[in-house]
C-alpha cells in the first residue's frame, strides 16, 4: 500500500510539476547557498591557514600575537618596533635553530607590499602542505637591485622579467615619496601559491637598506644623495629587521625555544607559534563567515516556507482528489503520508538539484576563483558540516510538509467523501 502511495504521490506531483518545480528550484537554491557558503568558508580557512607552514616560530618586537602574525605573514599593518641585526644574528646561532628568515617590511609598490629578505626565504619558506616557493619565470635574485614578484603582482600589473619598477616609501597606494632614483629590475616571477606571497614584491635585505641610506624618519635627507654606484661600495648590512621566521631542528623544542626568545635579555622580543596565532586571528575574522552561514540558513528557511505555502495553497484545489482517495479507501492517515511523501520528494529533489548546481558552478567558476582570489574549491571532500546541513535540510523539508499534511488530514476528515467545493 505504501508503494501505491508513492505511485500516487509521484503521479499527483507530476500532475502539478510546474508549481512544484518552482518550489524545488528555491530549495535547490538554498542548498546551493548553504553548501557553497560552507565550502567557501572551509576553503578560505584552508587557504588562510596555508599562508605559512613549516615555520616553528615567528619572532618580532613585543606586540600582540595577532598583530605580529598580520605583518610578518600577511604583510598587513606595521610593526611598532624593529629587531636589531645583532639580535637576528644571536637568534640564528641559538641552540636548536636550523634556519632563520629575516623579514623587513615598510615599502610598497603600487599598493603591493615590498619584503626585504635573504635567499634563505626562497630556500626555507613553506606554505600549504609544506610546499616551497617555485620560480615560474626568470631567475633567482642576484644583483642588488633585483626584485622577485609574486604571481598576482606580475599578473595585475603586467610585468615581465626585465621590466623596471620603482618602489615607494610607506605602504600607501598614493606614491608620494618614491625611490625613483633607485629603480629595480624584475628578475623573476614566482608561481602562484594562493597565499600573501602572491601579492608581495621580494627584494634583498641589502637592497632594502640601500633604499633608505639617505632617509631618516621617513623623509629623504635634504641635500644628501648617494647614487647607486656609490651604494654598491658601501656596507649594506641591515641595521634592523621587522620580523624573523624561525625553523627549528626539531618541533619538540618549540616551547623551550619560545621561552628563550621571550626572555631574551638584549631587547624585548616575542615569539609566537604560527598555528596558534592563525587560530586566534581566525576567531576574529570568522564572524563574517558566521554571518554568511546565518544568511544561508535564512534563505533555506524561506524556501521551506515557500514549500509549505505552495502545497497549502494547492490543497483547496485538491480537496476533490483527497475525497476520491477517501472514497476508494484511503484513511486520513494515508492522506497525511501522501503529503509527507510529496514534501520529501520535492525537498530531496531540490537538494540534489542544488548539489548538481554547485558541482557545475565549481567546475565553471573554479579557475576564475583560483586566479582571482587564490581559492581552490575542493568539492570532492564534503565537510562534516556539509553532511549535517544536507541531512537537516531534508529533515526540515519533511517536517515542513507535515503542516500541509496535517491540514489535508483535517480536510479529509471534515469533508468525508463529499468536499464542499
Amino acid at each position: 500500500m505504501i508503494r501505491f502511495l508513492w505511485t500516487l504521490a509521484w503521479h499527483s506531483a507530476w500532475n502539478r510539476r510546474f508549481t512544484l518545480a518552482l518550489t524545488m528550484g528555491s530549495i535547490a537554491l538554498s542548498t546551493f547557498m548553504l553548501l557553497g557558503a560552507e565550502r567557501i568558508r572551509t576553503d578560505i580557512r584552508d587557504s588562510f591557514t596555508s599562508a605559512v607552514s613549516g615555520t616553528d616560530l615567528i619572532v618580532g618586537a613585543r606586540t600582540g600575537s595577532v598583530q605580529l602574525l598580520l605583518y610578518a605573514v600577511f604583510h598587513v599593518g606595521a610593526a611598532t618596533n624593529n629587531i636589531r641585526w645583532s639580535t637576528v644574528q644571536a637568534l640564528a646561532s641559538q641552540r636548536g635553530v636550523r634556519w632563520i628568515i629575516p623579514l623587513s617590511l615598510g615599502d610598497s609598490h603600487r599598493g603591493f607590499p615590498v619584503l626585504g629578505t635573504t635567499t634563505d626565504y626562497f630556500k626555507h619558506f613553506r606554505y600549504g602542505e609544506r610546499q616551497s616557493l617555485r620560480i615560474a619565470q626568470g631567475l633567482p635574485l642576484s644583483d642588488l637591485f633585483d626584485a622577485m614578484l609574486g604571481a598576482e603582482v606580475a599578473a595585475r600589473l603586467g610585468y615581465q622579467p626585465g621590466d623596471r619598477i620603482v618602489l615607494s616609501h610607506g605602504s600607501g597606494e598614493l606614491d608620494l615619496s618614491q625611490h625613483a632614483d633607485k629603480p629595480f629590475v624584475v628578475r623573476g616571477i614566482l608561481a602562484p601559491t594562493g597565499t600573501p606571497v602572491d601579492r608581495t614584491v621580494h627584494i634583498s635585505l641589502q637592497a632594502m637598506e640601500a633604499l633608505h641610506v639617505d632617509w631618516i624618519a621617513g623623509m629623504p635627507l635634504r641635500g644628501q644623495h648617494t647614487d647607486a654606484k656609490e651604494l654598491r661600495q658601501m656596507d649594506l648590512t641591515p641595521r634592523a629587521v621587522t620580523a624573523v621566521l624561525v625553523g627549528l631542528e626539531s618541533r619538540s623544542g618549540v616551547f623551550s625555544a619560545q621561552r628563550t626568545i621571550n626572555t631574551f635579555s638584549a631587547e624585548p622580543l616575542m615569539a609566537i607559534l604560527p598555528g596558534v596565532a592563525l587560530d586566534e586571528l581566525w576567531d576574529v575574522i570568522g564572524m563574517g563567515e558566521k554571518a554568511l552561514m546565518l544568511m544561508s540558513a535564512l534563505v533555506a528557511l524561506v524556501s521551506l516556507a515557500g514549500l509549505v505555502s505552495v502545497v497549502m495553497a494547492g490543497l483547496n484545489e485538491r480537496r476533490r482528489e483527497l475525497a476520491v482517495l477517501r472514497a476508494v479507501g484511503a484513511s486520513p492517515w494515508d492522506v497525511l503520508i501522501l503529503l509527507m511523501i510529496e514534501g520529501a520528494m520535492v525537498t530531496i529533489g531540490g537538494v540534489l538539484l542544488g548539489i548538481v548546481g554547485l558541482a557545475i558552478a565549481a567546475t565553471v567558476l573554479g579557475p576564475w576563483l583560483q586566479s582571482r582570489f587564490g581559492l581552490t574549491l575542493d568539492l570532492a571532500h564534503p565537510t562534516d558540516l556539509q553532511w549535517q546541513l544536507l541531512v537537516s535540510l531534508v529533515m526540515a523539508g519533511c517536517l515542513a510538509s507535515l503542516v500541509p499534511g496535517w491540514r489535508a488530514y483535517r480536510l479529509s476528515l471534515s469533508d468525508g467523501l463529499s468536499p464542499r467545493s
Partner: protein, 238 residues
C-alpha cells in the same frame, strides 16, 4: 426476508453547531442485493444520509448498521477499512484521479483493501482479469484502459467509476447522482450497465437522484423527505 446490508434505526442527526435536526429517520432497511432508488429535492439531506450509511458521519442518536455492525462501535481507522471492504462509491462527477490511468483508477480499492483484492483475484484469477471484466462490462474499449483518466469523456469517466465501485464485489454500491452530468441517452445506457453489473456482483445498490423517471427500474423507491421527519416539506410529500 433477505438479510439486511444496512439498517437505520431511530436515526437523528444535526450538523455540528446547528440547533435544528437535519435528519430524523425512524427506520430504513436495505436487503443484500436489493436496489434502492432514493430521491428528493436538493437540500433534503440525501447526501448526508449517504454519508451516514457509509459511516463517514455518525449520528448523535440512533443506530446505523452496515453488514451487521454499528458504525459507532468502531474507531475511525477501523471504520475506514470496514467501509472500503464493503462499499463502492460513485460520485456525481470527478470520480477519478485524473493523473492515473483508467486501469489504476479501477484498481485503487484493491490497493487499500485486501478483502476487495482477494475477492477480485478469487473471482477472475488476477487483478488484471478483474479490471478487464468490469471495464468490459461497463462497455469501455480496451484501447482506453491505459490512458490517463483525464483523457476520457464525462460519460466514460462515470463508467470507469462504476467499474471501480464494483471491483472486488463490495456488498453495497452507493451512487450519488451519478447520471446528473450525462445526457438522456447516456444516462439510460449507464443505468443499464450499472444495474446489470450490480446484479452480477450481487451488490446492493443505493442510487440517489432527483430524476423520478428512472425510479421504476429499481426494486424500491423511497422519497427522502417522506421518511425524514425533520424535513420541512414533509407534508407536501405525504
Amino acid at each position: 426476508m433477505r438479510e439486511a446490508i444496512f439498517e437505520i434505526d431511530e436515526l437523528r442527526f444535526a450538523w455540528p453547531g446547528s440547533s435544528t435536526l437535519c435528519l430524523d429517520i425512524d427506520a430504513l432497511r436495505v436487503a443484500k442485493g436489493e436496489t434502492l432508488f432514493l430521491f428528493g429535492p436538493s437540500g433534503c439531506g440525501k447526501s448526508t444520509l449517504l454519508a451516514l450509511i457509509a459511516g463517514v458521519l455518525l449520528p448523535q442518536h440512533g443506530r446505523v448498521r452496515l453488514d451487521g455492525r454499528d458504525w459507532a462501535d468502531m474507531p475511525a481507522a477501523r471504520r475506514d477499512r470496514y467501509r472500503v471492504d464493503r462499499v463502492g462509491y460513485i460520485f456525481q462527477q470527478f470520480n477519478l484521479l485524473p493523473y492515473l490511468s483508467v486501469r489504476h483508477n479501477v484498481l485503487a480499492p484493491c490497493r487499500f483493501s485486501t478483502t476487495r483484492r482477494q475477492s477480485a483475484v478469487q473471482q477472475y484469477g488476477s487483478e488484471a482479469a478483474a479490471v478487464a471484466y468490469w471495464l468490459d462490462g461497463m462497455g469501455l474499449s480496451s484501447t482506453l484502459w491505459d490512458r490517463p483518466a483525464r483523457d476520457l469523456s464525462v460519460g466514460q469517466q462515470q463508467r470507469v467509476a462504476a467499474a471501480r465501485a464494483l471491483i472486488g464485489k463490495p456488498a453495497l454500491v452507493i451512487a450519488d447522482e451519478p447520471t446528473s452530468a450525462l445526457d438522456e441517452q447516456r444516462r439510460d445506457d449507464f443505468l443499464d450497465l450499472l444495474l446489470s453489473a450490480c446484479r452480477t456482483a450481487d451488490s446492493a445498490l443505493v442510487f440517489v437522484s432527483h430524476d423520478l423517471r428512472t425510479a421504476e427500474r429499481f426494486e424500491r423507491a423511497v422519497a427522502v423527505p417522506q421518511i425524514n421527519r425533520a424535513s420541512m416539506d414533509n407534508e407536501a410529500w405525504a
